[in-house]
């Protein structure tokens, strides 16, 4: 039986509405909708590769203010134009560095934004499933960033989410990004946490106006026991672009969804990703790209690696509307598995109502090529380095959209470190 979300979370809605007066209507409508959708089960096609039992079986409380800081994975060494830190779901002013971003753009925590004018609540995407509706019902904080027309911000804006001492807590963050005409920004989102059993449920909504460029790098390195669900809603205007690179390494279970709408001619999106699933981990990506107008383009490149009893999944749905001619949509999924207990799932889905389009998709699952490893070692390269070189080559395409070389290098190092931790493991031989 599906749990009664209304009964489970109504108290929290009223508590949060007390903190942010005026949000109660929005929250209650969202909670009712969430209850209606129900938490996904195995029979929900969109969720077939993720076992959401941990979320169904528990009621997650609001996280408490942090007492101790956990030891964090190394920073992604980059110059940032601002770094916003959220600890246990709350904006932490002391740890944040607003740099000089405020001079070029409007940036503030969600609570302040909503409180300044309750009409702004209408700008919030209410949600399209139980997770995102719960996010609307239970959101407490987030970043609202608005970049005026013509303003290009070179250094990335960083958002760091930290969870600590949060057994049984669920945090629902809502970020809103708005880019004016011709504006440009790079957002680096990081999720980290300690070993407690918590749930991160975040939503990022972006509106990208004509000719604007939004580069989004999302690095998920949650604590080992965490459940992570995240969703991006992106609306993309004429000649504008959204480039997302999602890296999933942490958590017991992660689910990332992108809902992209290419609204007007020449809008383009690329959604790429790398997922590394250690033993017992599951990383699931679901993308939905809607080509609503002609000459819009999309490109998706996913590379995943699964260790013994690790699992990676990808479902990519591309829809091309009637009369949306000259659309180009490409999808490529490649998975490496360490042995035959590792699992890789891929399911492309095309729904094409126009007749003059170029759509492609491909999926492969395999092992590291032992012939290539022998070739490299027969040139004096040690086997650990050899495997790293091959994995670097394997994941390179999925990182190519990242314009900042230092971010790309740092992400490559993360992947390489992950391989080194598993250096002793044999890799399935292809025969």
């Amino acid at each position: 039986m599906k749990p009664d979300l209304l009964a489970n979370y109504e108290d929290q809605v009223w508590e949060l509405a007390g903190l942010m007066p005026g949000t109660e209507g929005l929250r209650m409508r969202a909670l009712n909708a969430a209850t209606e959708y129900g938490l996904p089960g195995k029979r929900d096609e969109k969720w077939r590769y993720s076992n959401m039992r941990a979320l169904r079986d528990a009621i997650f409380s609001q996280p408490l203010a942090a007492k101790n800081m956990p030891s964090l994975p190394a920073a992604i060494a980059v110059e940032t134009s601002a770094s916003l830190v959220f600890v246990n779901g709350r904006f932490n002013e002391d740890l944040s560095d607003m740099g000089d971003l405020w001079q070029a753009a409007q940036v503030r925590p969600l609570a302040n934004h909503l409180m300044s004018n309750m009409d702004r609540a209408n700008e919030l995407v209410p949600g399209d499933d139980a997770m995102t509706c719960l996010n609307t019902a239970l959101m407490r904080d987030g970043m609202v960033l608005s970049v005026p027309a013509g303003v290009e911000i070179d250094d990335p804006v960083e958002i760091v989410h930290i969870m600590t001492d949060s057994d049984g807590a669920g945090t629902h963050l809502r970020h809103m990004i708005e880019l004016g005409e011709g504006a440009a920004i790079t957002l680096l989102e990081r999720y980290v946490g300690d070993g407690s059993h918590y749930w991160t449920n975040s939503v990022l909504q972006a509106r990208i106006s004509e000719g604007a460029r939004f580069q989004h790098i999302r690095l998920q390195e949650e604590g080992a026991a965490a459940q992570h669900t995240g969703k991006v809603f992106a609306n993309i205007g004429t000649g504008a672009s959204y480039r997302a690179t999602t890296i999933n390494i942490g958590g017991a279970l992660s689910r990332f969804e992108a809902n992209v709408r290419l609204l007007i001619d020449d809008a383009s999106a690329s959604i790429d990703g790398v997922a590394l699933a250690g033993t017992g981990q599951s990383h699931d990506t679901y993308t939905e790209i809607n080509h609503l107008m002609p000459t819009t383009t999309s490109d998706q490149i996913f590379r995943t690696i699964a260790d013994s009893r690790g699992k990676t999944s990808f479902q990519g749905k591309v829809s091309v509307a009637k009369d949306a001619q000259k659309v180009t949509a490409d999808q490529s999924f490649k998975a490496l598995v360490f042995d035959n207990t590792a699992e890789a799932n891929a399911k492309p889905e095309l729904e094409i109502l126009a007749d003059d389009v170029k759509c492609s998709h491909g999926a492969t699952v395999g092992a590291l090529d032992d012939k290539a490893i022998f070739y490299l070692t027969s040139r004096g390269i040690d086997p650990i380095t050899a495997r790293q070189m091959l994995v670097e080559a394997f994941t390179a395409d999925a990182l190519q959209a990242i314009a900042h070389d230092d971010i790309k290098t740092a992400l490559m190092e993360r992947i390489s470190d992950w391989m080194t931790e598993r250096a002793h493991k044999p890799v399935l031989q292809e025969h």
């Binding site: 290539a372 070692t377 027969s378 390269i381 070189m389």
Partner: protein
């Protein structure tokens, strides 16, 4: 006073570059090499000839240390060391190079990065500092030029989209960079047109010296008219059945393996 003992040792080391005794090798449970003896001294070029399936490539891969090639009996010593105790990359560090019959294509890894990582790995093994990118570029361009390889090919992915001849030239550039004590060249002449054969042969001849040895594995005589061997061995069914000078290769070409063996 002259220390004769040191000189004696050097002479002895030279003699014993590669010493294979009673070698038996299995691949996937099948016996391929069945009691093979071979001695290669510094300064010598040996050719091993034989038909397909005789075990020539298995011998080359066993010397290089391929994981699925199991030595079930016998010994392989290289400069006095037990080679079978070393990993493939350590064997390269000791000075062994295997030229592949079918060089492997590695999409996503640039030839330059591959060669530089290779050279610096071998340097590190021998206690030398890594070569800088600039220094390496100068060296690799010179070697590519010697072997008439288009420098553009250095930037491409390892062997991806290379013709048969280009792959073999690429092998020779790698050999020239590593400057091995012992080069084991597995069918390096296969798939080459006459110009490429000439260039590759020049590459092999440039590798000849009093301190280095070369083991050529081939089933045609034609390479041996460009690279003259000191010894020719005939391999049939996992054993060396006959050894001789370079004339043996001509005799094989004329009369066939059955008559010679």
């Amino acid at each position: 006073m002259v220390d004769f003992s040191t000189n004696m040792t050097l002479e002895k080391d030279k003699e014993k570059m590669l010493n294979i005794k009673g070698l038996h090798v299995q691949v996937d449970g099948t016996k391929i090499i069945k009691g093979l003896d071979l001695k290669v001294n510094a300064g010598e070029v040996h050719a091993i000839m034989g038909l397909n399936g005789a075990g020539k490539s298995t011998l080359a891969n066993t010397i290089a240390g391929r994981a699925d090639y199991a030595v079930t009996a016998g010994t392989i010593e290289f400069c006095g060391k037990d080679l079978t105790a070393l990993e493939p990359h350590e064997r390269v560090g000791e000075g062994i190079f295997l030229g592949f019959q079918y060089p492997v294509e590695i999409p996503g890894v640039s030839n330059l990065n591959f060669m530089r990582t290779s050279l610096n790995s071998v340097r590190k093994y021998n206690g030398l500092d890594a070569m800088s990118a600039a220094e390496f570029m100068k060296l690799v361009r010179a070697k590519a030029n010697d072997l008439k390889m288009d420098p553009e090919m250095l930037k491409r992915f390892v062997n991806v989209g290379f013709s048969g001849g280009e792959k073999k030239r690429n092998e020779m550039v790698q050999m020239a960079l590593l400057n091995p004590k012992l080069a084991v060249l597995d069918e390096t002449d296969s798939g080459l047109d006459i110009d490429a054969l000439r260039t590759v042969s020049e590459g092999i001849n440039a590798q000849r010296s009093d301190d280095t040895a070369i083991l050529l594995i081939t089933h045609y005589q034609r390479l041996l008219s460009y690279v003259q061997p000191d010894f020719v061995h005939v391999m049939i069914d996992g054993k060396i059945v006959k050894s001789g000078g370079k004339d043996l290769a001509l005799e094989l070409e004329e009369k066939g393996y059955a008559a010679v063996a």
